[in-house]
């Protein structure tokens, strides 16, 4: 029982990432009709926003300390972060320590700008092209983006720790009556799960309860009619692209302490997130979120030693098996609508 609870918990944080990426993918597909294979790269760039802000806060000046030697035996240069010099050591250290949550604020304008630039500069030219063309150009864009990141940040993962207040784990075992230490779950993963629920809720609320959201939903249902009413739906859809990019970016920022960011992390999530979108139903926001959590938890279960001893390699294919089963029984996915990608 304790193993099952642990795997459910494990699946939640991965499912959160799938859900957030799939949500953005669905937003873009639902509004612009574009299959965006560069969306994983946006998640990765978000994670590197956390790295960048951490590095900016850690920018230092050097003072030569003749009492210490560097690795070549020369007088060592001691680094002091500017923020510590400006705001005092404790407050400056706290700013660096909290760089990941603060990177959320940093990432929103950055990702909006990248989203607008991508949509206006490249993707809008492919609206009327076949989906295969869109996939090729966005996949190529993803490779370009990850190579740019690798050029500036290198290929190795970059440690980006969560604030020290969130280090350590919560003991669910003790709370649920199991042995102490049997079911533990890192605090930051709990934060990530809660954060994803907040972001998903905010996106749904934005689409549901604002005039802008109402127009976007109307445009998703019938673009031509909304256009005939004199509303510039293209502009709103461009903004939605920026918002989807920001959601992916925020998901990446908060994921940085879970998996040290590296240039390839977007690709690792991209394919599975597409499966999530298809399983959830193309164009269905609720389906994307539901399928994200569902597949995250199932993947986690499939990684259990007991299951792998019965079915070796099942953890690598479980998501695809589930996708096959669901598409055979419900061809439009869990919550897909008729007519989407069926022409």
């Amino acid at each position: 029982m304790d193993a099952i609870i642990l795997q459910i918990l494990n699946g939640l944080d991965k499912g959160s990432a799938y859900a957030l990426i799939a949500l953005g993918l669905t937003l873009i597909f639902g509004t612009l009709g574009v299959v965006n294979f560069a969306h994983g790269a946006l998640f990765m760039i978000g994670a590197f926003c956390a790295v960048t802000l951490n590095r900016l806060f850690s920018l230092s000046f050097e003072v030569v300390d003749p009492t210490k030697l560097d690795f070549l035996g020369n007088p060592a240069k001691i680094k002091t972060a500017y923020v510590e010099a400006w705001f005092g050591q404790d407050f400056g250290a706290a700013i660096i320590d909290w760089s990941v949550p603060l990177a959320i604020l940093f990432s929103i304008p950055v990702m909006l700008a990248i989203g607008f630039a991508m949509e206006r500069g490249l993707i809008k030219h492919f609206y009327k092209r076949p989906h295969a063309d869109q996939i090729l150009v966005t996949f190529g864009l993803a490779i370009v983006l990850q190579e740019i990141i690798k050029y500036f940040y290198g290929a190795n993962p970059i440690p980006t720790p969560a604030p020290s207040a969130f280090t350590g784990s919560f003991d669910f075992g003790a709370m649920l009556g199991f042995d102490v230490g049997q079911i533990i779950y890192p605090y930051w993963r709990m934060v990530y799960f809660a954060f994803s629920l907040v972001v998903i809720g905010a996106v749904f609320a934005f689409l549901r309860f604002t005039t802008f959201g109402m127009v976007v939903r109307a445009g998703m249902a019938d673009r031509e009619t909304v256009g005939l009413l004199g509303i510039n739906i293209d502009r709103r859809f461009t903004i939605m692209f920026g918002i989807a990019a920001s959601v992916a970016g925020m998901a990446g920022v908060m994921y940085a302490p879970i998996n040290s960011p590296n240039y390839h992390m977007g690709m690792d999530f991209l394919v599975l997130s597409f499966v999530v979108v298809v399983v959830g139903g193309m164009g269905s926001l609720a389906g994307a979120v539901l399928a994200g959590f569902l597949l995250g938890i199932l993947q986690s279960f499939a990684s259990m030693n007991e299951i792998k001893s019965l079915l070796p390699g099942i953890d690598q294919i479980i998501i695809y098996l589930i996708a096959i089963v669901i598409l055979l029984t419900r061809p439009r996915g869990l919550m897909g609508r008729k007519g989407v990608m069926e022409d």
């Binding site: 190795n156 784990s169 890192p186 040290s260 590296n262």
Partner: protein
Amino acid sequence: MTRGNLTRRGLLRTGAVVTGAGLALPTIFTSRASAFTNDPTGDTVTLGFNVPQTGPYADEGADELRAFQLAVEHLNGEGDGGMLNTFSSKALQGNGIRGKKVAYVTGDTQTKSDAARASAQSMIQKDGAIMISGGSSSGVAVAVQGLCQEAGVIFMAGLTHSNDTTGKDKKANGFRHFFNAYMSGAALAPVLAKNYGTDRRAYHLTADYTWGWTQQESIQAATEALGWTTVNNVLTPLAETDFSAYITPVLQSGADVLVLNHYGGNMVNSLTQAVQFGLRDKVVNGKNFEIVVPLYSELMAKGAGDNIKGIFGSTNWSWTLQDEGTKAFVKSFGTKYGFPPSNAAQTCYAQTLLYADAVERAGSFAPCDVGAALEGFEFDGLGNGPTLYRAADHQCFKDVLVMKGKEDPANEFDNLELVEVTPRAQVEYAPDHPMFAGGELGACNNGA
């Protein structure tokens, strides 16, 4: 009696053929006698450095390439000479190799066997490389070593730690300076027993490819020989980034040690997540839970940050050593690049010098002559103490370093501290040891 139909034209034709053959024969015999692939006939000799310039090990590859470039400079008499000044063999004079200026070409392995073979083949066929070096993945090293054997060029392996490289996949044209998984186990296990006791239950997470398998086998054998038991060994996909689903079962397994047979980004992620899940804070079987990373690299240590503190592992070499060879190399490398070299860089630098030195001592670029000069070669002054290139399997035998993540680093490069220099005798094994069985060196191949 018949009379031959001798005509003036026939005589001229026959004479021409005989004369031509007479002129050509000695050349054919001569060239057959010494022909080998990419015999350098001009003023330069070209070496091929095949490293991952893209892909997950690109940072290791970049450091290897820096070392290769530094070695070429030193061979050509540029810079301060580095370890040429401390190398026990004095055959190298800083005037290139056999008087020919050293040039080089680079290839990108992408950490993929097929891409690595393609780039090595291109360097051999198109660029005329007479020796290939490089690495960062044992799968790649084994593949490229096989290609070099077929092509008739020497392969001086870079970073490759699998037992198979000089075990079941060894080749006569391939030589490895780097240590291997068996040596890691032999060096590490006594230190683990000394620090953690002999009554331990280990749980292994292992990268699912040749290096991971042989490392796990080596560490398991070495620790079980000292009294440890192995609770489980779980293979993890090489592409995995989130190890949480693999780590949580450790909590319920009754194990009190987690051995991470992971390298590069795999290791950074699995270690970080193991620490996040509080494994290092646990007490199991009345003992503190411990994590072991059998193969360390400086770049990985940097990537793992604070999580590596206090964790034991092994390395082939460390820039913190105080022998003259190491000091000379760190000075050259650090002055040129501004940071200390990794142990991947050191092995690539040493391999380049060892190849050049073997050519000088052999008096020939022919791979079989160079191989013969390397076989059984004893040397010192390249940072690892007295070292033997064993003839039986082309594996270098030297001291192995047991390292520990430093608790209080003095600077950003000061991630690992030296715990023990394990003497060469402790990590030696018979050429027919079961972990290395199944392959033959075969005959050396001059190619052409």
